[in-house]
């Protein structure tokens, strides 16, 4: 069988024009599909930036909350109630809100302010500069050095700004694993300073961050939080809920899906048509092989091999091209959100397998129908 496949390989790659057209079709389709799904994955990832960066195991929130950006503050008694649940090691409030800061240049800039529990600083970021204890200093804020950092005019430790007529001072520069989705810089401060500097509603705790005594306690905590009329989600569940919201309730998922399907159809059309032409041009030769003594299954293997080889090569080239473009884009545009995940690669692979399957099916049907007698008849 190895020799037969080698013949199939040579028949395919020695027809340079057709082979190139097949590769271009599949590469282009994979490139588009991976780019679209990677951008979507990047957006989804960034939409959960707060959840990922804070890193709490369990998040308590109002049931109407869909994303970390859409907060509905909870009354203080919820914090006390959660703390009293058996299995809770500790629970702390998290403030999350938007504000306008006036920079030294006089320019106003929107920011996201995260207020960490004063006593524990639970969810604090890793610092690049400064000391975490300085967050307790007067008017102290820690700024996150991410893609949005320059919007605050590249502040340094000691840089001052105004926030609702309050003086603010940068006491630390932090790094986080993920930047936010909305292109807004992030400031960390203490919970009490956040609620005193930023105008708030009656209730102030956007989320309650819970550390359970063990994973076994999670179902009990979730159940008791539900009885309070609130929702407790693990980090993964909250990320999933956020993703689901963007996928199904914003049109983002539908648009990405449509673009991905279009990419698939373009790839399928180019590859299917070219492969069909390739088979048609070689039909007599396949008939001659049949006449010489090749069995139908050997011809089927040849076609499957040709389709698989082309598809996998095109898949590799498409992934490579997409990776290159995303890498270059991220170097040039730090806020570029695309990220290639195993799910993207798997999805594109399945699509390529479908393209290869349909192309092979068309080819196999044609080749199985050809009669060696047609070769004799000319």
């Amino acid at each position: 069988m190895k020799g037969i496949l080698k013949i199939a390989y040579k028949l395919l790659v020695n027809d340079k024009g057709k082979f190139a057209a097949l590769l271009v079709g599949i590469t282009f389709a994979v490139f588009l599909m991976v780019m679209m799904t990677s951008m979507f994955a990047g957006i989804l990832h960034r939409s959960s930036a707060v959840v990922l960066n804070i890193g709490a195991k369990l998040w308590v929130m109002d049931p109407a909350v869909n994303t970390p950006a859409n907060v509905i503050p909870m009354p203080d008694y919820v914090l006390d109630a959660v703390r009293s649940i058996s299995g809770v090691k500790y629970a702390v409030p998290l403030y999350s809100g938007g504000a306008l800061v006036k920079l030294r240049s006089g320019v106003y800039q929107s920011v996201t302010v995260l207020g960490l529990d004063d006593s524990s600083l639970y969810g604090r970021p890793a610092l690049l500069e400064g000391n975490i204890n300085d967050i307790y200093a007067e008017n102290a804020f820690i700024v996150v050095k991410d893609a949005e950092f320059p919007k605050l005019e590249n502040p340094r430790v000691g840089t001052e700004f105004e926030l609702n007529d309050h003086r603010g001072v940068i006491t630390g520069i932090a790094k986080v694993t993920t930047s936010g989705l909305f292109g807004v810089p992030t400031l960390y401060t203490t919970y009490n300073r956040a609620i005193s500097y930023i105008p708030s509603m009656r209730f102030t705790a956007a989320f309650i961050l819970v550390d359970p005594q063990s994973d076994a306690a999670l179902p009990i905590i979730k159940k008791q939080v539900k009885q309070l009329g609130y929702l407790a989600l693990t980090k993964e569940e909250f990320i999933q809920k956020t993703s689901t919201f963007y996928k199904y309730q914003t049109g983002l998922g539908t648009n990405t899906l449509i673009m991905t399907i279009i990419s698939f159809i373009v790839g399928l059309s180019i590859s299917g048509q070219t492969f069909y032409t390739f088979i048609l041009e070689n039909l007599e030769k396949f008939g001659a092989l049949k006449a010489i003594g090749a069995k139908a299954r050997e011809l089927v293997f040849m076609i499957l091999f040709q389709a698989t080889f082309t598809s996998l090569t095109g898949y590799g080239l498409g992934i490579g091209l997409a990776s290159l473009l995303i890498t270059v884009a991220r170097l040039r545009l730090p806020s570029y959100a695309a990220r290639i995940t195993y799910a993207n690669l798997g999805f594109a692979f399945i699509m390529v397998v479908i393209i290869a399957g349909i192309s092979s099916y068309i080819g196999v049907r044609k080749v199985l129908k050809i009669e060696p007698f047609d070769i004799f008849r000319g």
Binding site: I7, K10, L11, F373, F376, R377
Partner: protein
Amino acid sequence: MARLAVKANELTKWFGEGETKTVAVKSVSFEAEFGEMFYIEGPSGSGKTTLLSLISGILRPNSGSVLVEDKDIWNMTGDQIADFRLNKVGFVFQDYHLFPRLTTVENVAIPLILKRRDWNASMDKALEYLDIVGIKNRADLPPVKLSGGEQQRVAIARAIASSPDILIFDEPTASLDGDTGRRIVDFVKQNIMNENRCIIIVTHDSRIFEYADRIMKMEDGRITGIEKGGRREE
């Protein structure tokens, strides 16, 4: 006494149904022996190619049987017939049907590769056959770079590569000029023919009749006569 290579009994083949029904071969019976160069001759549409396909395991007859070395080939399964074609029959098609994307030596090696021989061993063997047909020096060229006569030789080398008992030529001189055609058939007679091989040639080229042992004439799907071949006196 010569051994029987092919025995066709009352072969009939038709195409289409009803008003479009065309009977291509009508109750044809004949025998061809090993060591014999057997010609099937007749005008276009006389059923020569159809008959060739029936006896070589390519086209199933509507009735009748074909015995090759005493085995009825049309009682075989699909895979058995494919194996029969691969091991017992060598084909030289009218248009050669060489693979333009493969080299000459790779074209010749195809039957060996279909027989699951190792790739390198198949190439070595194919080179030997190219040497027999006198174009070993063309081994690495694609067939499109060869002349018509050379392509015919490649087709012959491919046909004999699987050491078949029966060689089938369909209009071997149709694409060649008179001299080249005669040289090719002469070459086949001198170098490819032997007492353990039966060569069946379909042709209507009277210039090569001198090489035939017997010539079976066909018209309208029927045999109109079988005569001895050889050089004819003018």
